[in-house]
Chain length 180, copies 2
DNA sequence: TCTTTAAACTAACAATTGTTAGTTTTAAAC
DNA sequence: GTTTAAAACTAACAATTGTTAGTTTAAAGA
């Protein structure tokens, strides 16, 4: 599973063969089927696991009582935590989900869209409360999420970076950089 | 070529077959070979054309005399212009370049790395001149480029948006949002 | 109208794909 | 030491892949 994630990241789902994965594991391709029932299922489990982590993280943050700006900070922390702990798998979110087949595709998109909607809701409140510069919320949410989505590739080059420092710097750049 | 770009974007290079492209064009797969000599060459031409556009744009901006902050603005405009005029092809830059074979791969990476280096140099000067908040330049360049890279997917949802307005908003969010 | 050239077609190829069937090995439980 | 179950193996399959060869059609120039 971890081997597959690394290969999917490096070559993409479609270009990764079961024989590639098997070679990485040190086994013949057919032997993989004693452990998983299809290539497609590997992708599904990887993507839905990450999506689940985000969904649960969002639930926890919504449940806790705090100012909306602190909520934004918590969301950024959440992205950093998942990126650090699941670097390969999270790299599949931006693009490889297109290879999901139904019904997994619908399930994944449902989680993703719900997450984005809630992310945006938190940002909207922060803007409405006047805690962030008055700028197009569309642009703001897109800009912040772009950076957080791409974080995995940046993090791979700075693996020794302290995670808490990274969180602070991102919070600074993405939130307080544009706060008044 | 444009058909191929659209399919590569939607399904990825590896998962797009020559028969897919042919169907889109309204022709049999073998007929494509009267016009291009291989699938790989389509990818190479698409990616290197975009890389060339960025390289030339950077050249032009470097050649002109202006304050470093205006230079950053010009770079953002460049990204927006290329994104708007080549939305499908630019979507291949973040991931699909991994399917380039040598020697095209080296050529592409050379252009990309040179561009990023020069982008970073412009930002460094702006920071050194005290025109931008004092923050980790690594994070700043990563954050700005992430947003600009993902712009194509955002733009696809807001195709009717005025391009000049979009440029201004992005400049505001990415630069003056963090200026002092 | 005839010739020529570009571009379409059909048919097929060799290689690679995900996956299955059937068999042998490994290793833990008794 | 035997039994049992998990997990490896070899061999093969049907489908799909990029691409080539050879042929027919379309269209433009003479």
């Amino acid at each position: 599973m971890l081997h597959a994630a690394g290969l999917f990241r490096k070559k993409g789902y479609a270009a990764t063969t079961m024989r590639d994965i098997a070679r990485e594991v040190g086994v013949e391709a057919a032997s993989l089927y004693n452990h998983i029932s299809s290539k497609q299922l590997i992708l599904k489990e990887l993507l839905l696991e990450i999506a689940q982590l985000f969904t649960e993280g969002m639930e926890a943050i919504k449940a806790e009582e705090m100012p909306s700006l602190k909520r934004m900070e918590a969301l950024i922390s959440l992205h950093v935590d998942i990126t650090v702990s699941h670097t390969d798998a999270i790299s599949l979110l931006p693009n490889e989900w297109v290879h999901l087949e139904e019904p997994a595709l619908k399930a994944y998109l449902k989680l993703r869209d719900a997450y984005e909607k809630e992310f945006r809701a938190v940002l909207d409140i922060a803007i409405k409360e006047g805690q962030l510069e008055k700028l197009d919320p569309d642009i703001a949410v897109f800009s912040i999420l772009s950076t957080l989505r791409w974080l995995y590739s940046w993090y791979s080059k700075y693996k020794d970076k302290d995670v808490e420092v990274l969180k602070m710097e991102l919070i600074q750049a993405l939130l307080y950089g544009i706060s008044r």
